[in-house]
Amino acid sequence: MDPHSHEKNYPTQAPEDVELVRRVAAGDRIAGEVLVERHLRLIVGFAFRLLGDMAEAEDVAQETFLRLWKHADRWEPRAKLSTWLHHVARNLCIDRLRLRRGREGEVMELPDLRPGVVTLLESRQRDDAVQRALLQLAERQRSAIVLVYYQGLSNREAAQVLGVEVDALESLLARGRRTLRKLLMGVEGETAKREIVS
């Protein structure tokens, strides 16, 4: 790579996002709408997978874009805009999880999943079962899994959002998958038992 090819050696990214943020900084509302249209669904999805609550997820997404509006004039494309938005959204989610922990005790402690999940499976809501299982992971493992499996970020981008090296990201992913496998296989076992009994 030619070291002179890019003045500040920023990573490649869609030029439209950089241009749109610049226009937002100048007060261009149409540019703002395009950015919202482009990234909102992804950020809401990310926050929902981390928090398990749609209203809170939307609040996080709203706050994330508010940060973008406020910082648009100083924002520099050191990372992709989507990476920056995920980073901000994750920090906001962590704040909310801490608040919950303060209110409810150890939020990450694993409750007994099975009765609820069996009910969910009876109503064929596999996605709810997955969401419940995700919520039982430690936050960093959950974030890693969601960023790579649902948000479509590359390993480097996901590591950047989490502020870790790629090796550490892989460790989080592997541990997260092992826990999910146990939880969801347990659900399958319970379902099979119930089918035999009935």
Binding site: V36, L40, M54, Q62, R126, S154, A174, L180, L184
Partner: protein
């Protein structure tokens, strides 16, 4: 030699196992710089295929989760928070302009300057080029002479 090759294969297969354990069965999620080598393993190794098949079970669970759709009102709430043009922080250049013209919108003095400049250019193009004979003194003299002729005409009665 045979032993060394077997060890190399084992190391690579270990890495393949790590990749599948972390990123799952779908090659599109594998790191780009290792994807081709990993795919070669998938083609050539029964062990690799078994690992992918095992990982695929969890992947199917994860992929069964539906997509998330935000409420229609959310976009409106976000756009309502976007600063209006008047609230947008000014660039250093605009701050300087504002300092020398603190009386209101800066388009007014800018428009006046542009209008003046355009008038100047227009007159410059439309007016004939000045030469010696059209200098101020000559014009005055010509006017006086013309007036003299008029006076003569006036004095001449019918």
């Amino acid at each position: 030699m045979k032993r060394e090759r077997a060890q190399t294969k084992q190391v690579k297969l270990d890495r393949f196992a790590e990749l599948v354990e972390a990123y799952g069965a779908n090659p599109k999620r594998w790191p780009e710089d290792e994807r081709d080598a990993a795919l070669m393993w998938l083609e050539s190794s029964e062990d690799a295929r078994r690992l992918v098949e095992e990982a695929n079970h969890l992947d199917r669970w994860l992929e069964s989760a539906g997509s998330i759709t935000p409420s229609p009102a959310l976009k409106g709430r976000i756009m309502a928070q976007m600063p209006r043009v008047s609230e947008v922080p000014l660039s250093p250049w605009m701050r300087w302009v504002e300092r020398i013209w603190p009386f209101g919108p800066t388009w007014q003095p800018v428009a006046a300057l542009v209008a003046a400049a355009m008038l100047g250019v227009t007159f410059g193009v439309v007016m004939p080029e000045s030469d010696e004979s059209s200098s101020g003194e000559m014009v005055v003299a010509e006017v006086l002479l013309d007036m003299g002729d008029l006076a003569d005409d006036w004095n001449e009665g019918p």
